[in-house]
Every structure is written in structure tokens, then in C-alpha cells.
Symmetry: C2
Subunit: 228 residues, 2 copies
């Protein structure tokens, strides 16, 4: 499938590399490819400068958000929460219309320091904001409740654990679940929470996720929901 | 141990019955025992009228919040989030001072309908509000992330699952962990998240918890955090 991953950070790279390895035709979208390819400083979370990572993944092309969206049959939004809406506006309504858009981002606001706060919260979510702003996109909130290495390689966590899906389009959720399954998630590990307003709940997991990371001292964990 | 459970709803009853069964000297605190004992209507969530439940638990005494707090060596706040602060004010600073106070409540605001919103959120929590209002109480936030039947009988959910603890007093958390262990929680199932500000994260689980309950059609589930 022709897939565009929006965002050149750790999350975008992990998703793009995994999807490329699975044989998809992969592009990464960024605001300005020339600027991204001129970077010499490390990325966030100690990642290599983007051009260095790109050199190791010759099958993945870096395009503008709009070019990437036009190219793609399916998109994954892996930008930071603060950058998500601008990235999607740059991608453009025509490039998103009718396509499955898997939103992996979280609306974390670091402007007041650490820990970040969530905005929106409670009566809205970033997933809903995106769906409202792009009504023709088929938004599926998913994978936003775990580290990016766990997203693409669930076997690094022992035992069962879960991915939560929220979205208004059942067929889009089925496409997302199949793609997620191709990462190694076993049948039954995907929990469908219903419509896109359930993104409120999964985004609101982030404060606990951050505390768990502090308690464990690493990000190799995930949520599992055993039930009767 | 002399234990006071504050709150006569489903959560308070489940905790009090379990602790009574374990041989503790149990009282339940309520605003006005005479009013509570005059109730003929069912409680929330289809529970029996309080006097009917009380008749089945003759070893448990119903007292005012202040009497219950004075009596107790340890308290569990099982009031609704909206009622918690008033209940603790009625219990009174002297009755709480120096005592472990396990706060099981969640600040759910149903005033704007279903689903409820959380208030406070993000930069504060009900657990922190309680600790600030009663600095001499040894507040431990715990058990607020699951149905009350699961709190007192973890074996009803298959496999491993977790209880989160937050609090500023390590010795109080050790007391809480031991009491929780006596309900049947295995060693290792209790995750210490650090100081009381981690209550923000556990309270913010509630919106997802409510969506999961809707998805499963029942409340017999819990959060488990498998990790590497």
C-alpha cells in the first residue's frame, strides 16, 4: 500500500521503517524537506539527525506534507500533538479526503514545563479535533498509548497487551486493525472503544503513562486489560 | 485494626464487608446516620436500601463522619468525588491527623450529564486536594481505577492485573499495600507511582475505564501493565 507517515521524529521513523520493512511504498511527510535534510543536530529523545537516519532507509522518500498526502492511500499522523493540526492543514483537505488517517499523536503541552499537560481534555480530544477539521478523512485514533518501539514490535513486552481503537468509520477501523495486526499484534489484542470521542480516554492515559515510565525507568511497557 | 470506611454507597459497602470479613473492627461513616438508616429507596447502581444492607452486616456500625474518624486507626474514603471534601471536613482534622487515609474516590462531575468530566484534572487531583486540605493525614491514593468488586476480590479477573499507589508518605503506602494485599492482591501487583501528584494520572484513567465498561458491557476488568 502507498502509505504516508507524517512526522520525522522517533515515532514517525519507527512506523515508517516498520512499514517499509513490510513491503509498503513509504513516504515521510515533513514541513520542508530541504530544511529537514539540512539538519545536523540530533532529534528529540536522542535520535540521530534526520539525514543520517534517512541514509539508512533508502527506500523511504521524504516529501512535503502535501506531496506525501497526495501520494498516499493511507496516512499515519506521527507528528507531535502541538504540530499535528498545522501538519494536517499543510497536507490539505484534498490529500486526506476519503483516506484512512491513523492518528498516533497526543495533545501534550510542554509549554509550562514537565510534566506536560493535556489540551484538549475531558470534553474534547485531538482525535476529535482532527476529525472535525477534516470531515472527509477517515480518522482512527490508535497506538497513542505506548512507546513507538512497542507499537511496531509488540513482542518486546511479555504476555498479552492491548491497542485501543476509536473512530467513526467501522471500515476504516478494520483497515487500521489489519495494518496494526501486520506489526505482530495478535488477534484479540485490538480493543475497539467505539466512536472517535473515545480518543478522550486514550489521550488521558498519558499522565499515567509518564508516571509509569518514571517508575520503571524505561518505556518498555504497555496497558493490558484482562477481563472476565 | 479499627477501620472507618467513609461512604455508604456500593464502594463503601464492598470495602466494609470485605474488611469486616477479614476480622477488622469496622465502622462506616455517613453524614447523618439517622437519615441513612431511614432510607427506603435503593442506592445508586441498583444497590439495596442502606438499612437492608446494614441488617446483613451486624458487625459493622454506622456512625457520623466525625465519630467514625475519631474511632478509626485507618480510614478509607469511598465517598463520591463530589462529596469527598465535605465528608472529610465533617470527619474533621483531629480525626484524620496522623492516620493513613486511603482515597478511593474519583472527581467525576456528572452535573453536565453522561459521560462525566473530571475536575480537577491535569495540574491537580482530588488526591492532592485532600492531602493539601488535611496536611496531617497520610493520604494514599489507591484502588480508584477499578470496580469495587474487583478491589476486594482481584481473583474475579483472570491473570495478572495491578493496583496503583500514590502518596507522599512511604510508611503509609506500605500500610496501604499490606491491607490491599490482604484482599488477595499478589505481591508485585501493587505499583508505587511515587508522590501524591501521581493521583492525576490514575484519576485521569476514568474516561477510558468508562469506555471500556461500555465496550465490554460489564465492569469485571482491570488495568495490567506488563513490562520488560
Amino acid at each position: 500500500m502507498r502509505i504516508a507517515v507524517l512526522g520525522t521524529g522517533a515515532v514517525g521513523r519507527a512506523l515508517a521503517a516498520r512499514l517499509d520493512g513490510l513491503g509498503h511504498d513509504l513516504v515521510i511527510g515533513t514541513r520542508d524537506p530541504a530544511v529537514t535534510m539540512a539538519r545536523t543536530e540530533p532529534g528529540g529523545f536522542g535520535t540521530a539527525p534526520y539525514p543520517q537516519w534517512q541514509a539508512g532507509h533508502p527506500g523511504i522518500r521524504l516529501l512535503s506534507f502535501a506531496e506525501a498526502a497526495s501520494f498516499a492511500e493511507l496516512l499515519m499522523n506521527a507528528t507531535s500533538g502541538a504540530a499535528a493540526m498545522a501538519a494536517l492543514v499543510a497536507a490539505g483537505e484534498p490529500g486526506l479526503a476519503g483516506k484512512v488517517l491513523i492518528d498516533v499523536s497526543n495533545p501534550l503541552d510542554f509549554s509550562r514545563g514537565i510534566p506536560p499537560t493535556l489540551d484538549p481534555v475531558n470534553t474534547d480530544s485531538l482525535g476529535e479535533q482532527i476529525q472535525r477539521a477534516f470531515p472527509a478523512a477517515r480518522v482512527v485514533k490508535a497506538l497513542n498509548t505506548m512507546n513507538c518501539q512497542v507499537m511496531v514490535d509488540p513482542g518486546r513486552i511479555p504476555g498479552e497487551h492491548n491497542v485501543f481503537l476509536s473512530g467513526n468509520d467501522a471500515a476504516a477501523k478494520a483497515v487500521a486493525a489489519e495494518l496494526i495486526g501486520s506489526f505482530g499484534w495478535p488477534p484479540g489484542s485490538v480493543i475497539d472503544l467505539g466512536d472517535i470521542s473515545a480518543a478522550r480516554g486514550t489521550e488521558m492515559l498519558l499522565p499515567l503513562w509518564l508516571r509509569l515510565m518514571a517508575s520503571f525507568g524505561h518505556a518498555d511497557f504497555n496497558f493490558h486489560i484482562p477481563h472476565a
